[in-house]
Symmetry: C2
Subunit: 326 residues, 2 copies
């Protein structure tokens, strides 16, 4: 299976790491908008190609994994490339997924190409677990908690405040809320009751720290609805202690069964990730295998993780699965 | 969707409870080997029919859910019924699954029927989670812990000892083992290090308790390889405190990513069930929906949970899923 990586940021590097761990896959090329000569990738003897030459690779790539951002890159890239390649993307702007799906399907289906959008862990594995749990326990309630982990969007929002040099924001589930859900209480939880936000901020010398703190904690949508802690640290400390991109979280469903709803049934799916982009990359690569197989069977158009039979993700044989994994 | 329940023990009752919670489903009939007149089911106005008359229901049942035991019932029942109905069973004898699959496939495929075997939580949801996690993190290790929960097989083994009136056995994961796995240590764990066994035993008056205790803790395969605790209690206490069928457990995969395997990635799927048979019944019913839909598309032969695209489990529309669950 010849895989192309389109975009070589943190996610592209994560995909590259995952390909290396799957012997049935081969990294065919990395595509970049930068000058290819300026890019040093981790895999030896693999070409780095300008995105402008991508169409010359139509017959040399089985699945293209798109590693651009959801804000501006993927809404344009995914439909464009889906007209020429089988693609997988990690589009994660939840509220615009139906629009993105329609645009990619309109490009892929007439071209006889297969596309998988919104793959990763949320959307992705968390979505799958919400679906499985909801189908199994129709009388119940879902809870998704994110963290402890770095939110890039919230870190960026802090960096835009004048006087801020750099910042790192951790999203943290409120432990009491998680415990109440696990206990099967099915609580109604406000935004503030579910997550808190922990910010490590580096400011310019002489900056008004209290004013910056106030700007952060009162920022609408990002922080105002949460209990937010701001800690000012040095650039050295930020680099030393907060350079990783850990993340994770859990999807819980608490349901009822039995006469008079006498029994509680609880399902929990939990991720604890030292590296968010490397895990997302691993998920994209597993689903690229499925897309390759589904395309070989003649499927086309836009799919999601919900459409993929799990067996298509697995490198081994059906006999193996029946004998050892079922 | 007209569902038949074949066998009305704990599992059959669990399936009945789940059907009631799914508005797109209807319980068509319950089939029993007992005298139908002797059976009082929970759902009103639904016929109880002798298994001898089952073929008269060929056109009145969309999916038959088989609720027999794996030791002797299902190896015979599943192939027999798969020649006439689309079926779902919960065959859970892991080592004989390939043989069971072959027998059911040989019956279903030529008849144009669709069958799903080994559905439930293990095999079933735990298997699915082993597959997803293994496909995502190829460099890693799997751990499955069962409990705290009642093991019927182990309880039965104790009941067969002369002098024992009744017994209830709980399988319990060793907390230290679970914590080591969660911490990403990837330990090698012996049978004894993974689970302990807790037995509540009622004996005849005058029975030699120490001799019975010895027989339990030294029983090969069942108890000898575990740290086993035996507590003698009265029949009243057994009925009062140990009449439920709770169970659960977790599937964990601990994997590595990044340059030099520098990052740990952990996936955990956890069930905490007040009622094991009602949860298993809920899973069977969700997959019965998928089998109904897959059969309507012309699929036939024997499938497992690995072959089912998650979207087929869900009662809502694709638009719903894209907009609200992905």
């Amino acid at each position: 299976m010849r895989i192309g990586i389109y975009g070589y940021g943190n996610l592209g590097k994560g995909v590259e790491d995952a390909i290396r761990r799957n012997p049935d896959m081969e990294l065919a090329a990395v595509f970049t908008r930068r000058d290819p000569a300026s890019l040093q990738i981790a895999t030896e003897n693999v070409p780095v190609v300008s995105t402008e030459q991508v169409l010359e690779w139509k017959d040399k790539i089985d699945v293209m994994i798109l590693c651009g951002g959801s804000a501006t890159d993927l809404p344009q890239m995914s439909p464009e490339l889906a007209a020429h390649f089988h693609i997988v993307d990690s589009y994660d702007n939840h509220s615009s997924i139906p629009k993105h799906w329609a645009a990619v399907d309109a490009a892929a289906a007439p071209a006889g190409k297969l596309a998988l959008i919104s793959c990763g862990w949320d959307p992705g594995m968390f979505s799958l677990n919400r679906l499985y749990a909801g189908a199994i326990l129709p009388d119940g309630q879902d809870y998704t908690f994110w963290g402890r982990g770095v939110s890039q969007g919230h870190s960026d929002a802090i960096r835009r405040i004048p006087g801020v040099v750099d910042a790192r924001q951790y999203t943290i589930p409120v432990p009491e809320a998680v415990e109440r859900v696990r206990a099967g209480e099915m609580p109604q939880l406000s935004t503030r009751e579910k997550h808190s936000r922990d910010c490590y901020v580096v400011v310019e010398e002489g900056a008004d720290r209290e004013a910056i703190r106030q700007q952060i904690v009162s920022m609408p949508a990002y922080f105002a609805d949460y209990d937010t802690t701001v800690t000012f640290i040095s650039l050295e400390e930020l680099r030393e202690k907060h350079s990783g991109l850990p993340h994770g979280g859990c999807v819980l469903r608490s349901g009822k069964s039995g006469a008079g709803d006498c029994h509680k049934q609880r399902i929990e799916y939990r991720l604890e990730l030292d590296s968010n982009p490397e895990f997302t990359g691993s998920v994209l690569v597993a689903f690229a295998r499925a897309i390759f197989r589904m395309a070989a069977r003649g499927e086309k158009g836009c799919k999601t993780v919900f459409d993929v039979a799990p067996i298509d993700l697995f490198p081994g044989s059906r006999e193996d699965l029946l004998a050892h994994m079922l």
